[in-house]
């Protein structure tokens, strides 16, 4: 009896599905990934997407790219050393930085793909930022939407700007950490070389390097406080009380201990090598299009109910790349520069 019920249930379930021919795109689209700002060395990545219901070898080699700032052509150079994350992708370096208020236009054409066009404006500069930090015991959400909170020790960075942002302004945070090695005494060359090679930058969260595949963090300034609209990655960002007419935000990362990693006492070598962490905090003012793109991807990646089921009220399909996909955004930037947390070392020193 159970078997027949089971078979009937399976047949019923199978008979309710119908594979249909979806009038899908026959070709891919040009995918643009570009966040441009004040500094030179901005990068524009191009990828060709694959149609969802087909398969096609895709290469961006024959895409012709044109970039303008306030109507004037901007010099771009193909980065031949670029190793794409997605097969067939290419990258261009922009030779100059851009000023707040400049209108940037991008056009890309290919003989086989629909042409794309995107426009963005470099946002106003970031005003003076007051940065403080401290260690706190607080809750951290594991994943968006999860109800479980973990009580952990975090390192809190508090950023305050002396400005009341308008409604349609958006901010983002990036915290970078790098490992450096401090020595006490004279370290033999061979020993030191191995540690020197390990030094590098580890980014807690990056707004755009993994655009399309990672989470983003952005802060809406529709209210007086900076709000976090969503959170992800290793960094948590929450609104903070602002002083006066300004706006503030707190960003939290896991603290890292400075530690002794190598030592030698006695004999001819007396040395100690400490692994020390430095931080670099960047605050970005994002163009509205960039914020919408980032948020859209975050919603898609973190919604419990798949959007194409049709039950969700909003579908994030935003891109400002008309005719294509991706982000063509601009930022203004504040950078703290690399710093160590004073007093932290002493506490954590072994």
């Amino acid at each position: 009896m159970k078997r027949y019920i089971y078979i009937a249930a399976v047949l019923l379930a199978v008979s309710c599905e119908k594979e249909v021919d979806f009038p899908a795109d026959e070709t891919g689209r040009i995918y643009v990934e570009a966040i441009l700002g004040e500094n030179a060395g901005n990068r524009i990545n191009l990828i060709v997407s694959q149609p969802a219901f087909g398969s096609e070898d895709t290469s961006a080699e024959d895409i012709a790219l044109n970039l303008k700032a306030d109507g004037e052509t901007v010099a771009i150079v193909r980065d031949l050393d670029y190793v794409p994350d997605v097969e067939g992708g290419i990258s261009y370096l922009v030779q100059e930085g851009f000023q707040p208020g400049q209108t940037l236009e991008l056009e890309a054409q290919s003989s086989d793909l629909p042409s794309v066009r995107a426009v963005t404006t470099v946002p106003a500069p970031i005003p003076e930022v007051k940065l403080t930090h401290r260690e706190v015991l607080t809750y951290k959400d594991n994943e968006p939407g999860q109800t479980m909170n973990s009580l952990v020790t975090l390192l809190e960075f508090h950023l305050l700007i002396d400005e009341k942002p308008d409604k349609d302004e958006y901010f983002g945070i990036q915290i970078c950490r790098r490992t450096v090695y401090d020595t006490v005494g004279t370290v033999p060359g061979l020993v030191w070389k191995s540690y020197k090679d390990r030094s590098g930058i580890e980014e807690y969260d990056d707004l755009y390097a993994d655009a399309g595949r990672g989470e983003g963090n952005a802060i809406s300034s529709e209210k007086k406080e900076m709000f976090v609209l969503y959170d992800g990655g290793e960094m948590m960002v929450i609104p903070a009380e602002a002083e006066g007419e300004g706006a503030a935000v707190n960003a939290y990362v896991y603290p890292t201990k400075n530690r002794l990693v190598n030592a030698s006492y006695g004999g001819k070598d007396n040395y100690e090598i400490y692994e020390v962490y430095e931080y670099n905090v960047r605050l970005y003012r994002l163009s509205p299009e960039m914020f919408r793109c980032l948020k859209g991807r975050y919603i898609i990646n973190n919604s419990r109910v798949p959007i194409h089921l049709g039950f969700s009220p909003v579908t994030y399909t935003y891109t400002n790349v008309k005719g294509g996909l991706g982000i063509f955004g601009a930022v203004s930037e504040y950078e703290s520069g690399w710093f160590r947390i004073r007093g932290y070392e002493e506490k954590w020193n072994i």
Binding site: E17, V20, I47, L151, K223, F227, H308, L309, G310, F311
Partner: protein, 820 residues
């Protein structure tokens, strides 16, 4: 005064506007020998077989001193005799008459409402030994100034189409032109491009927030107590406000003042009992109705069987029940003043529970614990209103309402996890997480409406209203972690918001009859909304015009503006109680709509009515939820989790009706476009989810005899729109534009049969047998992607397959009704 009979072939129903007292018509025999107008009417009834239809306030017991009707009728034959008799009878009585086949309509000569303002429909004629009772209504739809008005009489629900055997009010409205129904079987109503949260439902003048049971399968309105329904999709009169897309104004029947009667019904979905009658004969009456579903009874054997099939230690339970209750008490102080107390209470309860007994052994010792979850959902409405209607004169009516409404949802989710592990020592972890989201909305309000007819050229309707809202959604999360029976972590977090808001309105409208061929209804509504520091003032013009182009044709046009200060916060389109009503704030201002409509209404020969309407509507401050929580919206930052945009909708609708004694056919066709513009979603206008380009419905009822009738309803509309990913970049899917896919067209045939019978005790019994989706068209409800690897060589190749999923097959149903 007199009208030559039209060539109408059918009896048409007349619907009475409820501001005035309902028309209750009785023809009583006069057996005391006095010659009165009434007694002579009875004689004409006996001779010619005609029935008289008139307002109960008409005094017919005035003496008649002319030639007796019996004598007059003998002098000539046929129809001329009837006309001559009528002329003699009503001469100098101040009463005018209009012959409508077998019915003679009587009105006062000095009445501000001229006879041709009334189109009379006879609903039912019930003859007893003592009297012949005819209940009739005036059809204002054809003669109303407003466009977009549909008047559905309560009797329509007793005959003809029934959804799964049970008449359903919202399903009836969904079949009309200009209304998209949303997901199959559910009670979505997307009127002229609205988003489904912008329909004003009034039950005896009181707004109701939750209007359906079981995710929309059954509406909250018991058709056994519904007197009539006015549905507006454009041309809203000034007395309505608070929502932007439609008005569904439902009036319930007062209890019978003279005799006890009721009905009992049992069907596939639910059963119900209705009972009414006098408390004090002729003065006070009551009307009670209760409905309850059977699902919880039907799921008992299902739960037993399912649990028997589960592995040891696992158990599950599914339970659902819905109940609603209507009660009214009506008291007549005199024929011009009445007071009624109305109560409505509806509730739904859903539970899904699953547990798994875990057994683990550690060093030979048996340890057990439970893993599972328990979902408890309750939602419903409660409404109480006190309504006083006073008729100061034929030209001055007052209607006052005092009311309280409570809308609530309560969702509880309990999650239990138990785990045993360890290497050198035993480690038992037991985590209990409970989450509860509940929302309350309380409304306390009062309104007063005055209807004044100062002359034959003006009909003024004015009123004031006030409602105090209390919004209170709450979210509570509690987590306890135990390790080896010792509590190691405990977290109790709750978040709630509480908003007090006030909403006050004042309006005035004048129906101006400048001539027989031109009428205008000009109105203005002012609404104040205040919540905390947020204050909003809105002025809403309402204008409607009617041009009578000949006796059978009317041209109408209208322009209206509407505002909505209360929003439904929801994370999905399903009508399930994971929602909260929220007030407007600085960051979420009121929604607004503007709509213009134009229509042509024609009475064709052979009793055919043809209506053609066009509309154009814009909507501003529309909202879409943009958070990530797929089931329950975030309360803490809800104001910034909603995205603001705008919409527009335009189209044309055609309605064709044909009625005979034995056949009713109604066909509705809509051609429409509905678009949205949300800057955060797309850089241009895009089609809305319910952008159904074509919609066609045809309803047909055939009465073979008094005992048997058959009905059929065929629904068709172009498919709903979905957003389907069309591109992939590095394994990530991308949606290249919103609502880029139109699902397969939807069509469905429902047929049913009503078998009527008079029982030995003289009661009416009706067996309804029906087939929903008679030819088993599996209409898709949602889409799904299957993404699988085609080969295992590197680089990996994937194929994506797109599917539509359907779930509703043919559903036979039955319903038995006994009216006593």
């Amino acid at each position: 005064m007199r009208h030559v009979l039209s060539i109408l072939a059918t009896i048409i129903l007349m619907a009475v506007q409820t501001v005035a007292e309902p028309v209750s018509l009785q023809a009583r025999s006069s057996r005391d020998g006095t010659m009165t107008v009434r007694s002579q009417m009875e004689i004409l009834h006996d001779i010619f077989g005609v029935n008289f239809v008139y307002d109960s306030s008409l005094d017919l017991d005035i003496p008649y001193r002319g030639e007796p009707m019996k004598v007059l009728a003998d002098h000539s034959d046929g129809r001329e005799s009837l006309e001559s008799c009528l002329e003699f009878l009503f001469k100098d009585t101040g009463i005018s008459y209009e012959i409508n086949r077998k019915y003679i309509v009587l009105t006062k000569i000095d009445s501000k409402k001229k006879p041709k303002d009334y189109t009379i429909f006879i609903q039912e004629q019930k003859d007893t030994l003592d009297e012949s009772r005819i209940t009739a209504y005036i059809d204002r739809r054809h003669n109303a100034t407003q466009t977009g008005l549909q008047r559905i009489d309560g009797s329509r629900f007793k005959k003809g189409f029934a959804f799964l055997g049970s008449p359903d009010l919202i399903k009836e409205v969904q079949s009309l032109s200009g209304v998209s129904g949303g997901n199959e079987l559910l009670s979505g109503m997307y009127v002229h491009g609205g988003d489904g949260t912008d329909n004003l439902f009034l039950l005896d003048g009181v707004p109701l927030y939750q209007v359906s049971h079981l995710a929309g399968l059954i509406s909250s309105f018991n058709t056994e107590v519904v007197d009539n329904l006015d549905f507006y999709k454009s041309g809203f009169p000034a007395r309505y406000g608070g929502k932007t897309s439609s008005v569904v104004d439902i009036t319930t029947k007062p209890g019978d003042m003279n005799e006890y009667r009721g009905s009992f019904n049992i069907g596939l979905l639910n059963g119900g009992l209705q009972f009414e009658g006098p408390i004090v004969k002729g003065k006070t009456s009551f009307n009670l109705a209760v409905r309850r579903s059977w699902f919880d009874v039907l799921t008992v054997p299902y739960n037993i069987i399912a649990n028997l099939m589960l592995p040891y230690g696992e158990s599950g339970k599914v339970q659902y029940a819905m109940t609603d209750f209507n009660a009214s008490v009506t008291h007549l102080f005199d024929k011009d003043s009445r007071l009624s107390l109305n109560v409505y209470a509806g509730s739904d309860y859903l539970r899904y529970k699953w547990t798994d007994l875990q057994v683990k052994y550690w060093e030979g010792v048996r340890h057990t614990g439970d893993t599972g979850f328990d979902v408890n959902v309750r939602w419903g409405n409660m409404l109480t209103s006190l309504n006083w209607k006073k008729k100061f004169s034929d030209d001055l009516h007052l209607n006052t309402v005092l009311y309280y409404v409570r809308s609530n949802t309560d969702v509880g989710i309990f999650n239990d996890m138990w785990e045993v592990s360890g290497y050198n020592s035993l480690y038992i972890e037991d985590v209990d997480i409970s989450e509860r989201n509940y929302s309350r909305l309380h409304d306390l309000g009062a309104k007063a409406e005055l209807d004044w007819i100062p002359s034959g050229y003006h009909h003024i309707n004015t009123g004031v209203s006030y409602v105090g809202h209390l919004f209170r959604p709450v979210r509570e999360i509690r987590m306890v972690t135990k390790q080896n029976d010792e509590v190691v972590f405990w977290d109790d977090d709750s978040y709630s918001v509480s908003y007090n808001a006030s909403e006050a309105s004042v309006y005035a409208a004048d129906e101006i009859s400048l001539s027989n061929w031109f009428k205008a209804n000009i109105g203005l509504r002012y609404t104040f909304f205040g919540q905390g520091d947020f204050v909003n003032h809105s002025i809403e013009p309402r204008a409607a015009f009617r041009f009578q182009l000949g006796q059978r044709t009317a041209l109408k046009m209208s322009y209206t503006e509407m505002n909505q200060a209360v929003h439904l916060l929801r994370a999905h389109y399903l009508d399930i109680p994971m929602t909260s009503w929220m007030p407007s704030t600085d960051y979420v201002p009121p929604m607004k709509s503007r709509q213009a409509a134009l229509g042509l209404y024609v009475d064709l020969p052979h009793n055919i009515n043809l209506n053609v309407e066009g509309y154009y509507k814009t909507m501003h401050n529309m909202y879409e939820y943009s958070g990530t929580d797929g089931i329950y919206p975030d309360l803490e930052n809800w104001e910034i989790e909603v995205m603001r945009g705008k919409g527009r909708s335009y189209g044309a609708e055609v309605e064709l009706r044909w009625r005979t004694d034995k056949m009713d056919v109604a066909a509705y066709y809509t051609l429409s476009w509905t678009e949205r513009f949300f800057e955060g979603i797309w850089h241009d206008w895009y089609p809305a989810r319910n952008d159904n380009r074509h919609k066609f419905t045809i309803n047909a009822t055939r009465r073979f005899s008094d005992r048997f009738e058959m009905y059929a309803c065929w629904n068709y509309h172009t498919g709903d729109r979905m957003t389907v990913p069309t591109q992939i970049v590095g394994g990530q899917v991308y949606y290249t534009s919103p609502y880029n896919y139109k699902m397969a067209d939807y069509h469905r045939l429902d047929i049913g049969f009503n078998f009527r019978k008079t029982t030995k005790r003289g009661n009416e019994s009706v067996w309804n047998l029906s087939l929903y989706n008679a030819y088993c068209r599996m209409n898709p409800m949602f889409t799904m992607l299957d993404h699988y690897r085609t080969d295992y060589k590197e680089p990996a190749r994937y194929e994506t397959v797109f599917k539509e999923l359907a779930a509703i097959p043919i559903i036979p149903s039955f319903n038995y009704t006994l009216r006593f």
